[in-house]
Amino acid sequence: MTAITVHCLGAFRDLGNNFTVEVDDASVASIRAAVSSHLLEINRSDLEGVLKRSVFAEGDELLRDHVTVSGHEVSLLPPVAGG
């Protein structure tokens, strides 16, 4: 198992600045599934819809779900709303 620190942005800030999930492999799809489980565990399934429309990033790169992360930290970016 690999521990991945998820940095929270936007609506996910309600969960704190970051949290950690454990994944069997470091694919973004696995991290997304682990975050979904985490939301259920902490009774924040209301954020599940936001999660489905969110993207993960490592450094300054946005990641598709088939990608495997190289480090142990990702950012979780909900739909953007600048302006």
Binding site: R13, S75, P79, V80
Partner: protein, 152 residues
């Protein structure tokens, strides 16, 4: 801490600043003796949204990604329009009546300056990792929905 990026030759300047944006002096940054038009856009926090009263907006930003996205946006706009361009966005608290984003574009003729400024704000809203937390008059807070960056 304020963060800025610029294109060599002064074609564009973009950045993020803490707190509200200043709306004065922006035109100086895009002035060019060959340009006869300057268009400016100020995005200002209003006192209502979706039927609710608002006192302020707290902008959350991913600085590294936002500056990269702003630079790419400026590259795209400057590729499409013959302009000099400045885009600055706030992060943190911006109160009603204060500007959260300022854009200036200059060009030889007005159509390009106006088109570039309009395209810049349209693209900023759907491409740049910035999030709004609206703060109501009674200090109630809610995150506003936006545009997904997910591509799969």
């Amino acid at each position: 801490m304020d963060l800025f990026a610029s294109k060599e030759g002064g074609r564009y300047l973009c950045g993020l600043i803490d707190g509200p944006c200043q709306t004065s002096g922006l035109d100086v940054l895009v002035q060019d003796p060959a340009h006869g038009a300057i268009a400016q856009f100020f995005g200002v926090v209003r006192n209502h949204n979706e039927g609710l009263s608002a006192a302020a907006v707290d902008y959350d930003v991913h600085p590294e990604l936002a500056l990269k996205a702003l630079s790419e946006l400026c590259d795209d706009i400057c590729g499409e329009y013959p302009v000099r361009l400045v885009i600055v966005h706030s992060r943190g608290l911006v109160r009603v009546g204060e500007a959260s984003v300022v854009i200036a574009a200059s060009s030889a003729h007005r159509k390009d300056a106006l088109g570039a400024a309009s395209a810049a704000i349209d693209q900023l809203k759907i491409r740049v990792p910035i999030w709004k937390k609206e703060i109501g008059l009674d200090d109630e807070q809610r995150w506003l929905d936006g545009h997904s960056l997910r591509k799969d």
